[in-house]
């Protein structure tokens, strides 16, 4: 099983939202990391075949997904960024309705819906209206609908947005358990989400992949560019203005800065091991506040 993106470009007017993206995916978890507006959602919608690329093609096992039509959609599970639901419907009715849209026979759908409700921990509230659910419960329901047809390709657009840390951990565990024999593509701007579960990460900026590889590959890319520096607390603001500061903490009378920089920021700075978050900040220096 292979999903190939060949020189995918999407233009709206003169603006290139996705620009010449090429990659190949086989079963595993893929993290699509990028700031808001980087083109992640547009790329994912093209991968779901609901949006046509301006140029380039997306192939599933060497067949163009736009030409495959319903055949491709039958092996696809998709959780959109802004997961929509029918507020007055119960989770069970909602899943059964989605199952009919996925062409699953009603008897199979009933069994599958119950299994998934058990898996996502919503079986005890299955008959309650979705509008009474918390954000986390709704997102879990979103995952369940994406999994109803046992998809070979699972595309999750910002699945952890709006979840509290405990829900996010649950969610990551759920994704990990589902990753067997599937291509799972997960977009987020929260580094820790992909760091924990992704086999390969694409870093997206201005519609292009600026970096891609395993987590270790990407971390290696920024190795040697992460520094720790002890300073006088009064100088912290000055350092934050002139350098990309990933973190700062107080230690006794000093403030310890974690700085991302090509060069050593100071003679007293110590080079320390990098993390994926450092890579993110290396490419998106203005995004620290989101982490």
């Amino acid at each position: 099983m292979e999903l190939s993106l060949n020189n995918i470009t999407k233009k709206y007017g003169d603006k290139k939202v996705v620009n010449n993206v090429t990659t190949t995916m086989t079963p595993g978890v893929y993290g699509l990391l990028g700031a808001n507006g980087a083109g992640k959602t547009t790329l994912m919608r093209m991968m779901t075949a609901i949006l046509e690329p301006t140029s380039g093609e997306i192939l599933f096992d060497k067949e163009n997904i736009m030409k495959m039509g319903a055949e491709y959609r039958s092996i696809l599970g998709y959780l959109p960024q802004d997961f929509g639901y029918y507020p007055n419907s119960s989770a069970k009715d909602f899943l059964l309705y989605i199952a009919t849209l996925k062409g699953i026979p009603s008897k199979v759908a009933k069994i599958k819906a119950q299994e998934l409700l058990d898996t996502i921990g919503l079986s005890d509230v299955a008959n309650k209206k979705i509008k009474t659910y918390s954000g986390g419960m709704k997102q879990r329901l979103g995952i369940a609908q994406a999994l109803l047809n046992d998809p070979q390709i699972l595309i999750l657009d910002e699945p952890t947005a709006g979840l509290d840390p405990k829900e996010r951990v649950k969610f990551r565990n759920l994704i990990s358990s589902l990753a067997q024999n599937r291509i799972v593509i997960l977009s987020t701007h929260i580094v820790s989400d992909v760091e924990a579960i992704a086999d390969k990460v694409f870093l997206m900026k201005y519609g292009q992949f600026v970096s891609e590889g395993t987590i270790q590959d990407l971390i290696d890319e920024v190795q040697g560019h992460v520094w720790e520096l002890a300073i006088n607390p009064k100088e912290a603001d000055t350092w934050e203005e002139k350098m990309t500061v990933a973190n700062l903490r107080r230690e006794g009378n000093c403030t310890i800065l974690r700085i991302i920089s090509e060069e050593s920021p100071s003679e007293s700075a110590i080079c320390i091991p990098a993390t994926l978050e450092d890579l993110y900040l290396y490419h998106f220096p203005m995004e620290r506040s989101k982490q």
Partner: protein, 398 residues
């Protein structure tokens, strides 16, 4: 089939659908049906200054009307017509409501305009000399001829209309007519009432998916493109038909309870003397129901097209209401020939057209408007289907 069932269940499970259907049912069946018959139209008069002042005795009062009319036999002849008028003139004020005076007075005005006086406030029934009420059917024929002439009807059209009129059997059978006049009058509004509910229920059928933010998700599913669009359209039409029958069946039952079947074979000319269509009351009622049904189906198709076109529920509801009311309002200001064409738009034309003499010349062939008003409106719905499917399934493929 599963998809159609699921869409059908989803549509009916909406609160807005349940409430609007219930209100429509309550208005047409309870208010404009039971209460109108029992109270404010056919209740015996108590306080003449208000329709709400009637007694709550419509059921018995209708039977009294029917019984009163029976005394004139079941045929409308010069003799029975004179009897009706003279009998009315001899009734006491408290009794004259029993007569069919509203209908009979229009006959006098139509056929004996030369006997109408302008120096009195009284209705013709009260003062006309019954000895002068002769040659009823000749007078009717003259009234039709005069009307067609004053209307500028061409020779060819006149010939066509007269050939219809020749099929009207005379003398007319006659029973109490006011009941049928009310029934057929009420039916003319059914289409509009049901259409209001259709706008509320069907305008969000496609656009509501964007309101609920489910559009992109649905489009990523196996049946999310054409199949779901087709299922939604089938459900839209089936819902329209269900709504129609939810209203029509109880309406007929209420009518049968209150009026029975008396007069079903009476010609529609008893309601409007210069009508030329050889139809009886039952046929007229069937026509009016069919007219409403066809209009509703055509309108439902157009509302679904609007729904697929819009991503906003509110915008599609507003557009649906505009589609319902604006053509009707504008058609009144159009030249006569354009008005006839605009009447072919779903729910613009009125089912009272069967009482009129309007025709359209289509490629040299004269066609009576009621036929066209039955056949053309559903075509709008049918033609809109492929556009609706295309719009929905291609909505995101920019």
């Amino acid at each position: 089939m599963d998809l159609i069932k699921a869409e059908h269940k989803k549509l009916w499970s909406k609160k807005s659908v349940q409430v609007s259907v219930l209100l429509c049912f309550a208005y047409i069946i309870i208010f404009a049906g039971i209460l109108q018959y029992q109270w404010f139209t056919f209740g015996s008069p108590k306080d003449e200054t208000s329709i709400w002042g009637n007694h709550f005795d419509g059921y018995d009062n209708i039977r009294n009307h029917q019984k009163y009319a029976e005394q004139f036999g079941n045929l409308l002849t010069d003799s029975s017509f004179s009897d009706m008028v003279s009998n009315y003139q001899n009734l006491s004020e408290s009794e004259n409501d029993l007569s069919d005076w509203k209908v009979v007075n229009t006959w006098l005005q139509t056929m004996y305009p030369d006997l109408e006086r302008s120096d009195t406030y009284k209705i013709m029934m009260q003062y006309v000399d019954t000895n002068q009420l002769t040659g009823l059917y000749d007078k009717r024929q003259k009234a039709i001829d005069d009307f067609l002439e004053s209307f500028g009807t061409s020779e060819k059209e006149t010939e066509y209309l007269m050939s219809m009129n020749n099929k009207v059997n005379t003398p007319f059978s006659y029973v109490w007519t006011e009941g049928w006049m009310t029934i057929l009058g009420n039916l003319q509004d059914y289409g509009i009432m049901i259409a209001i509910v259709l706008v509320i229920c069907l305008a969000p059928l496609f656009s509501g998916e964007w309101h609920n933010r489910t559009g992109a998700m649905i489009l990523s599913m196996k049946n999310g493109w054409k199949k779901d669009a087709i299922a939604k359209i089938i459900v839209g039409f089936s819902f329209s038909a269900e709504l129609f029958f939810i209203i029509a069946i109880p309406s007929v039952i209420v009518q049968l309870i209150y009026f029975g079947t008396s007069g079903f074979d009476m010609p529609i000319q008893c309601i409007k003397m210069i009508a030329v269509a050889p139809m009886n009351m039952l046929e007229a009622e069937i026509y009016e129901y069919a007219h409403a049904f066809m209009g509703i189906m055509g309108f439902a198709g157009l509302v679904m097209l609007i729904s697929a076109f819009s991503k906003s529920e509110i915008a599609s509801i507003i557009a649906g209401f505009a589609l319902l009311f604006i053509p009707t309002i504008f058609s009144e200001y159009l030249p006569y020939q354009f008005q006839l064409f605009s009447d072919l738009f779903p729910l613009v034309g009125n089912s009272a057209i069967i009482f009129r003499t309007n025709t359209l010349n289509i490629f040299g062939k004269i066609v009576w408007m009621p036929y066209l008003q039955l056949l053309i409106p559903p075509l709008f719905g049918i033609i809109s289907i492929p556009f609706t499917v295309k719009l929905w399934s291609k909505r995101l493929r920019i």
